[in-house]
């Protein structure tokens, strides 16, 4: 009896193990990942795409170490490497992958879901934001993967598109994107960090961005530039500072990136080019942009492209960047695109005769709009200061160079656009620093090493056709006619 039960018990065990083993049904169900969703609504992806791109472009790395120092708004006072034209290859890897695997992949997914689910506003806003991110990227690097990009499921060796074709694509996407926005269709819940589901505002943003991109082509393809600009202008861009595209940081986890940098670092200060320009015109924005020097209370910048401080000067003798962006900057917004810039673009278009308006009036309105855009934060020039400034002879309208100079000032803390502005217009004239190790101030970023390792055939073709066949910092972009 006892023996029988032992036989029965072992037979049962044998049966159990073999049954479990031999039947592999359901085994793969165990491999369904419980750690995240396989599908999410666009309203949770759009904010990541917006925050990601702005966080990158306004981050201290890209702005304070690259795009704000090369147009000589600010200067590196510690580790002046980029200042002297020495770019860290690993940094380029970070910028490149930050956009492509971050905000661009996320916004492309918003577009794809929009198309799939007939969510017109997802597709429309998606196309507009994708163009915003891509214009930053191509203005950094020139030719980049565009039509083949963001499609790793099908292609992990994307071809580089010529910058001319990328601009065509972006302008087309902006036109189409604006066209499909529908105020009465489904929007993004709490996920529209820029305009809180106001599709009319997105339409103005799309048209304003299209004006910016159109004007970029002024030197290289004036006919397209004019046609695109006037179309966007007629469709209607920003009409007041209320329309500004601002990313308002809530503080805490998401705080203005330069504030986060300020908490741990003191590597950056005001460029003497900016400080001296503002001083020479008695511009009241000096007191907003810059802090007085710690040692003597003077407003004093430091020259760009220098290895060290002038003899006898210490770090305390140099004006730091204004507290609005630094010490008091936790909730300071990033200025994605402003009414002031749109007015400057229109003033330039008027000066070129593309639109019928008075360039001088638009120019004055633009300066005024810029000075007023800080009102909601209780900083910036007073109305009296603004009136006095606009009336001063130094500011009087004297043609295109006036527009360019004032626009350069107004793009302070809008790094990528400030760098593009100086490359396209060359105004104001910037002196090369004595320790700059290049033949000129950088006009592009070099391609990252990861592309050389992982996509070399396509990269090499792109480098070869952009002149010189050398992956450097001094070969102008396609739209940069010198």
């Amino acid at each position: 009896m006892k023996n029988k039960s032992r036989v029965a018990f072992s037979a049962l065990l044998v049966g159990l193990v073999f049954a479990a083993v031999a039947c592999s049904d359901g085994l793969t169900d165990l491999n369904e990942n419980p750690n995240g969703p396989t599908a999410v609504p666009v309203e949770f992806l759009l904010p990541t795409a917006i925050q990601g791109a702005v966080g990158n472009a306004w981050g201290s790395g890209q702005s304070l170490s690259h795009t704000s120092i090369w147009p000589q708004h600010t200067v590196q006072i510690q580790y002046p490497d980029e200042e002297r034209g020495i770019v860290r290859p690993s940094t380029m890897d970070g910028y490149w992958s930050g956009y492509y695997t971050g905000s661009l992949k996320d916004i492309q997914t918003v577009i794809d879901i929009g198309v799939e689910t007939e969510h017109v506003n997802a597709e429309g806003v998606g196309r507009i934001w994708k163009s915003f991110v891509f214009h930053i990227l191509t203005d950094y690097f020139g030719d980049v993967p565009y039509s083949d990009a963001l499609n790793g499921e099908e292609n992990t060796l994307p071809v580089y598109d010529a910058q001319a074709d990328i601009y065509d694509g972006m302008l087309a996407d902006l036109t189409a994107g604006v066209g499909m926005l529908n105020a009465s269709a489904q929007a993004f819940g709490g996920g529209d960090l820029l305009y809180a589901n106001d599709m009319a505002a997105w339409r103005k943003f799309g048209n304003s961005l299209r004006m910016r991109l159109a004007m970029r082509l002024s030197e290289v393809d004036p006919a397209t530039a004019q046609a695109q600009f006037t179309a966007a202008y007629n469709a209607g861009g920003f009409t007041s500072n209320d329309d500004n595209a601002l990313l308002d940081y809530p503080g805490g986890t998401y705080r203005f990136p330069l504030y986060a940098n300020y908490l741990g670092r003191d590597d950056h200060a005001m460029s003497s080019t900016m400080v001296d320009t503002l001083k020479s015109m008695s511009d009241p924005r000096l007191f907003l942009f810059a802090e007085p020097a710690a040692t003597d209370g003077e407003y004093r910048g430091h020259g760009n492209g220098r290895q060290s401080l002038p003899a006898g000067q210490s770090l305390g003798d140099i004006s730091r960047i204004g507290n609005f962006w630094r010490a008091d900057g936790e909730t300071t917004p990033a200025t994605v695109l402003t009414y002031a810039e749109v007015l400057f673009l229109q003033a330039e278009a008027a000066e070129r005769g593309w639109i019928s308006a008075d360039p001088a009036t638009l120019y004055m309105d633009a300066i005024e709009a810029h000075m007023n855009q800080y009102d909601p934060y209780g900083v910036g020039p007073t109305d009296t200061e603004i009136a006095d400034y606009l009336a001063s002879p130094a500011v009087a309208y004297a043609g295109m160079n006036s527009i360019y100079l004032q626009k350069w000032i107004s793009l302070f803390m809008t790094g990528p656009e400030a760098w593009s502005h100086i490359r396209r217009t060359g105004v104001p004239h910037l002196e090369m620093g004595p320790d700059l190790q290049l033949s000129r101030i950088p006009v592009r970023m070099p391609y990252p090493d990861t592309e050389q390792a992982l996509n070399s055939v396509n990269l090499n073709a792109a480098v070869a056709r952009q002149g010189g066949g050398i992956n450097d910092l001094v070969t102008p972009l396609w739209w940069d006619a010198g």
Partner: protein, 577 residues
Amino acid sequence: MIGHVAVNYQINDWITANARVGRDWSRDHRKRNTEWYSLDDAGDGGFGENTIYRSETNADLTVSATRQLLSDFTLDVVGGGNLRRNFYETANVGVSKLTVPGVFSIDNAGTPASPTDYLSEREVRSLYGSMSLNYRGYMNVDVTGRNDWSSTLPEGNNSYFYPSVSSAFVFSDAFDLSSYLFSSGKIRASWTRVGNDAGPYQLASVYGSSQPWGSTAMFNVPNELPNIKLKPEETTAWEVGTDLGFFNERLGFVLTRYDRTTKNQILGVQVSRASGFSTQRLNAGEVRNWGWEVLMKAMPVRLDNGFRWNMTVNWSKNNSEVTELYGDLETLVLQSYWSLNIEARQGEPYGAMFANDALKCRGPDFEGCTKDQKGMYLLDEDGWLQRDPVRRVVGNYNPDWIGGIQNRFSYGPFDLSVLVDGQKGGDIFSVTNWFGEYAGVLKSTLKGRENDWDDPGYLNKGVLPDGRINGVDADVRILSQDRFEGNWGMQGLTVDDATYMKLREVRLGYELPASWLARFGFYGGNVALIGRNLLLWAPNIENIDPETAFDASNVQGIEFGQFPSARSIGLTFTITP
């Protein structure tokens, strides 16, 4: 913690069944507190708390039989099944601000706590069998076979069979060759194939998330492209060897020659970021490893008074080659650190280092130099090193060989053992040295500023554009500071030879007298003084311990600010009840 239940059942006098269910699990809890005004960004304090639970459950059933066949053969047969389930769960919470100092609780968080969690499960079911045939004790043939079904591979690819055959022949017994001089001899050979599955959740991806923006949830597309078509990895190996004993076993050698090829290796292969992804899971490559292992054991001295000197020497040399890669890929980037890649590059050993170096005189064109200047730096007219714009293989982390010698002397109750080991060759990219030189804080950067910061200047040896050799026909110097700051874009300059030798362990032991121990009811015991990592000799690299690798995974050869292996000196006391 380990627990198991087992049942044995003797079915008859030559068949036994064995069933066993067991679980091995561990829970690990860590908490790291940061006080106010510590070196974090705002001095607000905070803490991180981390709990890890892992378990492995195994259910086995085996039936084994042993039978004498004819008179000279013994046959052992084992058949069975196994079910293995692994479970892993981790929960983390981070708090980056404390409202009241010194209280490390979530209730005291000054900003919202950021929690994360992760869990994974995997199950492998197996059936296996083995047969072992022995002839007269000196000839053995073993055959095994096993089939696994894994949860981590896609249906259709998740069942894989792997066999092995091995044999050993004690020829000294078979042919009765034993003598004092040649005391034993055995030859062995084996062929095996082993299958391996993927990690969990590599077939499909899920959205990742980041901290909410106010009350808005933030999701993102993950950076790895999953692969629904993964296949199991497969390693095929053969091995032959011999075990020889001489002088009545006072000298013995174990020699092994092996050759192992792993194909369909599952790796997260880096892809162009412009694809929208950083990596792609692939059955990516085929890697061959082959080499020699030698073990020598000797007792050079054995005296009648009980003094013994025993010596053990081991030495091994492994070669590797990436023989095939997925599709047209030339290389797989395994890891990238400060722009130096560790790669599996076709035709190169696994673990090639790929980076920018200074421009060197190089064939086949010898542009800007002559053939006999091969390997020298090509300088510019001011005597600076120039960055080679073409990235190249600048090293490989695999050593030429590794080896060790242990000597043990015993006399009466005392014994002393000394272990020395090390490696010859292999490269290491020391980021510590790279940054340290860039920042000018290392002793090596005194070169060229022995007299003053700009005096006498640093001389780069190499070929000047006019053909003169700097340091021989010319003396063009640059600022020491420029030389070392200039290594920024040239990681190859700080890839150094990791050859080292270590006095790994010295142990002096004393066996306690048995009679004395017996009084306390113990059977045996000893005390020993042990020192580990006592000396390091690394002739070609400064400042760091070349043995401290960056990462225990397949990425080696990178060092950055690691603590060197700790030296320890201690006393141990052991008793055997």
